[in-house]
């Protein structure tokens, strides 16, 4: 009797261990695979040239990734700059100020928004954001813009990741113990003082984690961005210029690459870059979080 229980325990443990190892293994498998596939182009052109030039003429053998990398960073940057403050304010309001009724209603709306497929955001962006930028915003700043631009991609992406950030932040803020708020309030703090000095402070690691997750998601978002970014290979000079982020490059060209030499390897390199940026970014933020924990022990 006892023996079979122990045996089951052991099997269960090993089973779970295998699953865990496999999950981690995939990370290396993907990274390694992409690296191997992109090795030919790296050897031929040199890593530095690939990263710093922006000429993209596959038929002549020119592969410069600078404009793709910058596009990716710009679009993601704009999206986070728009999305983070809005999400912070919204989730603080919902958790700290709103009545339980609003909280319940809002939670389901957020889940719904997070579940809308990217293509819908893309279509909506094409129909509303793009013309709005082209007609109403861009003319104040530049001579001409089609509207398909860094800004359009950033805005659509922001709208896409807002529900994601809000739903994580809501979890983060509700994890702050009620006693902590009461401790602050009982000293005569107002709600806003409590939020500012206690709740947000306590939640800093969570806010960072949420931001990291949102940025990782934004880096990789393909379809909605591809529909509104203009897909034009050049260094964008302003946020009203068209751009061409890495995921869009891969998605747009993957089918036709077979006819051109080195093309496959170049696209694999694009994928590897994207993978590398996201991994690097996650590692850095993890290190930051560890430092914060060491110093402040929130």
């Amino acid at each position: 009797m006892l023996k079979s229980r122990l045996l089951k325990d052991r099997i269960a443990r090993h089973y779970m261990l295998t699953a865990t190892v496999m999950a981690i293994f995939f990370l290396f498998l993907i990274g390694g695979g992409l690296f191997l596939k992109s090795l030919p182009i790296m050897q031929e052109k040199g890593l530095w040239t690939l990263l710093t030039t922006s000429n993209w003429r596959p038929f002549k053998g020119d592969f410069g990734f600078a404009s793709y990398i910058l596009s990716t960073l710009y679009v993601t940057g704009i999206a986070i700059i728009i999305a983070l403050p809005l999400s912070l304010l919204t989730s603080i309001y919902i958790i700290e100020y709103a009545s339980p009724k609003i909280l319940r209603a809002f939670s389901s709306v957020v889940d719904l928004l997070a579940g809308i497929p990217p293509v819908i955001y893309g279509v909506w962006g094409t129909l509303t954001i793009v013309p709005f930028i082209s007609k109403s915003i861009a003319p104040h700043f530049v001579e001409f813009s089609t509207g398909y631009s860094v800004l359009a991609a950033g805005v659509v992406l922001a709208i896409m990741i807002i529900p994601l950030i809000i739903s994580i932040l809501m979890e983060v803020f509700s994890a702050v113990p009620k006693e902590m708020r009461e401790a602050s309030m009982s000293l005569g703090a107002t709600k806003w003082q409590t939020v500012k000095k206690v709740v947000i402070r306590k939640s800093i690691p969570g806010v960072i984690a949420a931001t990291v997750l949102a940025i990782s998601r934004a880096f990789g978002e393909t379809l909605a961005v591809l529909m509104v970014c203009g897909n034009f290979t050049d260094l964008p000079k302003s946020i009203f210029d068209a751009c061409y982020p890495l995921p869009a490059l891969i998605a747009n060209n993957y089918g036709e690459m077979m006819s051109v030499p080195q093309y496959e390897s170049a696209l694999m390199f694009a994928a590897f870059l994207l993978f590398f940026i996201i991994v690097l970014f996650n590692v850095i933020s993890r290190l930051v979080l560890i430092q914060i924990d060491k110093r402040y022990q929130l």
Binding site: M180, M185, L187, G188, A189, T190, K197, R201, L298
Partner: protein
Amino acid sequence: MELITAPLITVPLTIEQPKFKVMNGSHSLNPHIVVENLNIFIKGNHILKDINMTIPDKSITCIIGPSGCGKTTLLRSFNRLHDDNVDVKIKGKLFVDGEDIYTKDTEVTHIRKKMGLLAQRPCSLPMSIIDNVVYGPRLHGVRGRRKLYEIARHQLVAVGLWDEVKDRLKTPASTLSIGQQQRLCLARGLAVEPEIILGDEATSALDPISSKTIEELFVTIKDKYTVVLVTHTLRQAKRIADYVAFMYMGELVEFGTADQLFNHPKNQLTKEYISGGFS
């Protein structure tokens, strides 16, 4: 009201607690918190029923009673901590220093500043030790490093924590032991210069030694503050209380001096409870 007419020293001083009894007799009996027909409903359940009591200032009042009798609910109503809970409905009046705190124009931060709260588990704020102590003064506009440092030192000395933390004031408060944290919380509460200290089973999560330290602190500070404690341990109430309120099923069964309630309880329920008949 009957409390005020109750004779204070009617029996000879007991040997274990002479200090408290003497002090008890030496101060004047001013009502500090007056509860009038207080009724509290939580989600429609009648949690507190017609509570009337007068808590005298500069003394320790213990609220005792079995679990779920409404002790904590009553204590939390003193500094309006139920405000944010939409499920709680409060009827009746509660006067602090003669001011009704449940009127519409009462500023809640003003009420809370008058009271320091010690929770069951010490809850240090996510900041350094010194920032914890001066959190309250800072909220209320005290500025200047020197000044804040002096406040922190003074209060940390008062709770006997100074020597233990003076070399690491800037380290996070969460690095302190739980007993130290509770003393820190008391220092933090005292730093806003309250008149009242509320303790919600403030020693129940602590080890016996820390618990004793906190208890002794309550006794030392009652010269200056009105201390109201909810406690589960009868022995603690016997050790430090000047006045005791016994609650049962949301009602205030008996209120009186510690001596009166423990040695000559009037009510049958009180008698049973203090003799350990139920808990």
